[in-house]
């Protein structure tokens, strides 16, 4: 009994700590948080009773683990469906890659909770509550380390780029973005727009930044943090991320509400590198040879 309670408590607590109520990761409303905590509770219960039940020779308990796995796959599709729906009405869309990434994190964290509860429950069953909590703390540190992915700032240098026009064509540091008609729009751009250049450190980063989903994520996060000078009927102020084919540099032009280049650079640096866009050509021999 004690084993089960310790397991449930630690698992639930870890889920709460991992549930970052950050508007980049999650539209933070209390009911969303509630439903995830409820799921975490179920995961923790299932995880923590597994080992004590096995010890009591109740082998049916193991089937519950399999059942739970199917349940949590549902979490992923639930999150995906919801975020896809929200993406249609948002001014700047997250893009399918980012949504898939967020959904996957929600699923994985439930497994993490289940696994932690399993271990804590088991250790408490054999040892005592003190060892159980100790293992729980270690599991928390490990899971936090495992679950924190890389960010753009770790794979590329982010710096300011100069926004300029050549006729109707918009450039940031020589990267062509788009053709914009009417003088008024161009004046607004010259007055308000900010440009950043993201320079990849190596070929892996270059391939990652080439992914369109990754670029949409950069545009979305920047717009979410600095605001965007745009409404549904002014599509020309949508932030755009384009690639310099010669060097693999990526540039972004955005018309923010808060015109502060330092904050924009910081925002871009903190954009997560999406699991689905992460590319590692340098890990293959062909990729290494091609890079020199």
């Amino acid at each position: 009994m004690q084993a089960m309670f310790t397991g449930v408590f630690t698992g639930f607590f870890i889920r709460y700590l991992l549930l970052k109520r950050d508007h980049r990761q999650y539209p933070s409303y209390p009911h969303g948080v509630m439903s995830h905590l409820a799921l975490a509770f179920i995961a923790a219960v299932i995880g923590s009773i597994a080992i004590p039940a096995l010890m009591e020779k109740e082998f049916t308990a193991v089937t519950f683990l399999a059942l739970a796995a199917t349940q949590f796959r549902e979490v992923r599709s639930m999150e995906r469906t919801m975020l896809e729906g929200l993406d249609k009405t948002g001014l700047i869309s997250r893009g399918p890659d980012y949504i898939e990434g967020i959904a996957r994190v929600f699923e994985a964290r439930n497994y993490l909770v289940m696994f932690t509860s399993l271990i804590v429950g088991g250790v408490t069953y054999w040892g005592n509550i003190f060892y159980g909590l100790l293992v729980g703390a270690v599991a928390f540190l490990i899971s936090r380390r495992l679950m924190s992915g890389t960010v753009i700032g770790q794979i590329a240098r982010v710096r300011e780029g100069k926004v300029s026009f050549d006729g109707p064509n918009l450039f940031v540091d020589g990267i062509h973005f788009m053709n914009l008609g009417t003088d008024k729009v161009r004046e607004e751009y010259m007055e308000r727009a900010l440009g950043v250049i993201i320079e990849p450190f190596d070929d892996n980063a270059r391939a990652t930044l080439a992914n369109n989903g990754q670029r949409m994520a950069i545009a979305h996060d920047s717009a979410a943090l600095l605001g965007v000078y745009k409404d549904v009927d002014t599509a020309e102020f949508t932030p755009i991320v384009r690639r310099d084919l010669d060097t693999g540099r990526v540039g972004m032009v955005i018309v923010p509400i808060e015109k502060d280049i330092e904050l924009l650079i910081e925002a871009v640096k903190r954009v997560p590198v999406l699991e689905s866009s992460l590319s590692t050509p340098l890990k293959t021999s062909i990729g290494r040879k091609a890079s020199d």
Partner: protein, 62 residues
């Protein structure tokens, strides 16, 4: 393959430069009027104005 970009309207100064298409064409007498018509059309259709640099604007849905 789904068509994602579409020319919604053409705003032209010179009738010689456009024609033979199914897209609505609006003629303007000067650049000022052309800018105004193009902006209105862009706001109404939620499109973006692009300048072809030959006195012709196109409004494109992205």
């Amino acid at each position: 393959m789904e068509l994602e970009k579409f020319i919604l309207a053409i705003v032209a100064l010179d009738a010689e430069k456009v024609g033979g298409c199914g897209t609505p064409v609006f003629f303007a007498v000067n650049k000022e009027e052309q800018d105004k018509i193009a902006t209105y059309l862009a706001r109404i259709t939620e499109g973006v104005v692009h300048d072809l640099e030959n006195g012709t604007y196109i409004v494109v849905k992205h």
